[in-house]
């Protein structure tokens, strides 16, 4: 029971996003739904990074960088994961749909 409580709490605290945005060199390269599982091969300045979307989670599963910090970051369900050496930013957009920008 305890683990179920913990899980539902996490769900509530981190409202699930709906979209995965992938930026390369500060530019938006892909916008993908979070609920469709797939692997995306993204070309950055030092090679190809593989981003995996699965069961509403996202991770960087392979990267040409040396430190592999991005892979160690593991799965995310909100927020972002970055690979600085390959200039890749993966962002899960939280559920404020239809909003173009936020002031504050």
């Amino acid at each position: 029971m305890l683990s179920i409580y913990g899980f539902s709490y996490a769900e509530k605290k981190f409202p699930a996003g709906t979209e995965v945005q992938i930026f390369v060199n500060n530019k938006l390269a892909y916008t993908l739904p979070l609920n469709v599982d797939r692997n995306i091969h993204v070309k950055g300045p030092i090679g190809t990074t593989i981003i995996e979307i699965s069961r509403g989670l996202v991770r960087i599963s392979d990267s040409p960088c040396n430190n592999k910090i991005c892979i160690q970051h593991g799965w995310i369900r909100k927020g972002s994961v970055v690979c600085l050496p390959n200039r890749i930013l993966v962002l899960i957009q939280s559920g404020s749909s239809g909003i173009d920008a936020v002031s504050g």
Binding site: K13, G95, S96, I99, A101, V102, S103
Partner: protein, 302 residues
Amino acid sequence: MDTLITLTLVTDSEELAEAASSAAFKEIDRLHLLWDFFTDTSELSRLNKSSGLKPMKVSDDTINLIEKALLVSHKSKGAFDITTGPINELWDFHKMIVPSEAAVKEHLGLVNYRLIEIDKDKSTVFLKKKGMKIDLGGIAKGYAAARLTKIIIDSGIKSGIVAVGGDIRTFGMRPQNKLWRIGIKNPRLDENTSEIMAAVSLTDRSISTSGDYERFFIVGSRRYHHIIDPRTGYPSEKTISATVINDDSTTADALATAVFILGPEKGIELLNSFSSEGVIMDIAGKIHTTDGIKDKIEYIYR
């Protein structure tokens, strides 16, 4: 500038988007070199060092910015004041340092926008008292949003959004001929609330928000945040969040700070004198708006 800049550009030409955004980012670098408070060689730092000595020749951007700042200072009777540099330096929101009362009192004597003298013919600015320091933190991002927008439009882009942190400029129509829909951040975010508290639809206008949640620390039950009342030297405690909509980005940014410091009642009077709209959450969490926007706000959480 120490902030996230997001450009939304609507065009079917990737080349055009690329050219416009790289021109915009070049402009940000230029403004940063002019106005960084912490870089000794910035024009602003040199101006501050010349305080009490002699007028200094400055760029047109600096003259324009200071003029707009002074208008808001004048109309708000000093609730907005760019000469708070000496007081801002006493506060450290990273190390959670509350300055001594004596230090605040001493430095408050250096805070006075009336001691800024502009000579437009000679392009000079004179800070008349030694030790005076201008800090453009409450207005430079709005100016940057305006400049970036101009550069992007000059590059041939007809619609988009320039967001310099929370200072947002909208221009042209969103695809499908719609207005841009801009959210106002929920100032007290927790697990049960949404990221934004309200939304407004607009275009060719600017929207800026000042909130007590941007940089702060809490000691006991008191929240010390970065929006310092120039008249007291301490954080203003009337407001949680102040959002301003104005035709001009620079003015919107300065007004958001002024309204935050004044609180809802005097803040709305100030907004009316600028034909500006606003949404203010007072310290008790109650929302106040100008009449012109009352029916146009969609509340997402309140």
